[in-house]
Amino acid sequence: MDFKFLVDTFFVALSGVPIALIITIISLLIALPLGFMLALTRINKIPVLQRFAQVYVSFIRGTPVIVQIFIVYSSVPLLLTSLFEKYHIDKNVYDINPIWYAFIVFSINTTAIMIEIFRSAIGTVSKGQLEAAYSVGLTNVQAFRRIIIPQVLVTALPNICTATVNLIKATSLGYAMSLQEITLRAKVAANVGYNYVEAYLDIFLVYLILCSLVEYVFKRYEKRLSKYKTAHA
């Protein structure tokens, strides 16, 4: 075991954390509202949209993330090339930072997971809450913002936490798109002297620390949000 390499590479792996976090955050920012709205279309049985949401969820959940990555990473550049040619845009698709493909794949993937999480969470809030909000003169938007969504979030939070941790871990698959994230950086460092054991140990540690931190933050937030549930005297 090469300890100096172990320590040095730990920091190399650590330098991939921002990329993993940016992908996670962007995907959540897109997936949370979109997933919520698509979940509503399923609950309110909005004709075409609810069917779309249903098919979408089963497609995404029925296929491995790595395959979704391959599909996006191989098809989107082709699509873009023909688009660029058609509109005479002078840009090489292979100059595009792979992080954009990561945003696409992980947003698509996380949205499907959020639809399912919100669908069950919204189901736990009774219709009476919405009716009471209407009866005191709140508009639809106000009722959702102030009464429904806060309650849905509390119920959904443990699942959103799990989904977020899974998402962080899944960003390690970004190496398949030559994305400079945690796993790829450490692996590249190991290529030089074949110190793979040390590198993998570092990767292991970085994900462990990162995910534990995220879980801790969620638990704290959950406690604060749900004080009305546990407040029992």
Binding site: Q129, A132, S135, V136, R146, Y228
Partner: protein
């Protein structure tokens, strides 16, 4: 002050309300009686647009709306003039007692928070919950929750408060505290339309009793008349079922 005309409502093939007319004056306490499934809840819900009637009008003196084709704005206006007390309270779980009461003031009516809090505290004092401003619904008994529900309606100072069986989800020993709160606000001149099975409330507090059956109003009149000499056979049978044997004679 409130006049409802010809409300019709069907769920699928079942016609639940078959043309209901009702007139309520300012300060009236009107109690609706009737067997289960007769459409009492549906009637209240149609008035507050929680259910969309197939046909019918509501006239609030200064505004007349078609209950079927009302615009969003009209619905909002009517909801500002009415308040609803639910059978199972429906307090906002994520808000304290005081926040429950002030929500409609601050968000619905845009009243400044400090002023709304004063009004909310007064309303909670009135229903005997001065000690419970900061309690969440999960920390309150059913009777206390329903009193918050009543305070939440009263604080809006609506033209009329609609009560849908406000005591029927409560343990028997908690019914009294809620009924006495309702009695108090009735005394203050609040206009109330109350669906209840509490005959004592109908007898002592109401100035008009309406008997509904099968989606129509069968009979209406002052409680004395309805209880002691009902005209319609259906009313007689219903009262016979829900009142103790010789109750009628002692009114």
């Amino acid at each position: 002050m409130l006049e409802i005309k010809n409300i019709h409502k069907s769920f699928g093939p079942n016609e639940i309300l078959k043309g209901v007319d009702l007139k309520i004056e300012k300060g009236d306490v009107v109690v609706i009686l009737g067997p289960s499934g007769s459409g009492k809840t549906t009637l209240l819900r149609c008035i507050n647009f929680l259910e969309k009637a197939d046909q019918g009008h509501a006239n609030f003196g200064d505004i007349d709306v078609n209950l079927n084709t009302a615009t969003k704005k009209q619905i909002h206006t009517i909801r500002q003039k009415t308040a609803f007390v639910f059978q199972n309270y429906n307090l906002f779980h994520n808000k304290t007692a005081l926040e429950n009461v002030t929500e409609g003031l601050i968000i619905g009516r845009k009243i400044p928070k400090a002023e709304a809090n004063e009004m909310g505290k007064k309303a909670l004092d009135k229903v005997g919950l001065s000690e419970k401003y900061d309690a969440y619904p999960s920390e309150l008994s059913g009777g206390q929750q329903q009193r918050v529900g009543i305070a939440r309606a009263v604080v809006l100072n609506p033209d009329i408060i609609l009560f849908d069986e406000p005591t029927s989800a409560l343990d028997p020993e908690l019914v009294g505290e809620v009924l006495s709160v309702m009695k108090n606000i009735a005394k203050e001149g609040t206009t109330m339309l109350v669906v209840t099975h509490e005959m004592s409330f109908a007898k002592d507090v109401a100035n008009k009793v309406v008997f509904m059956d099968g989606g129509v109003i069968v009979e209406e009149g002052p409680p004395k008349e309805i209880f002691s000499k009902p005209k319609e056979e259906r009313t007689k049978q219903f009262l016979h079922r829900v009142l103790p044997e010789d109750y009628i004679f002692y009114i």
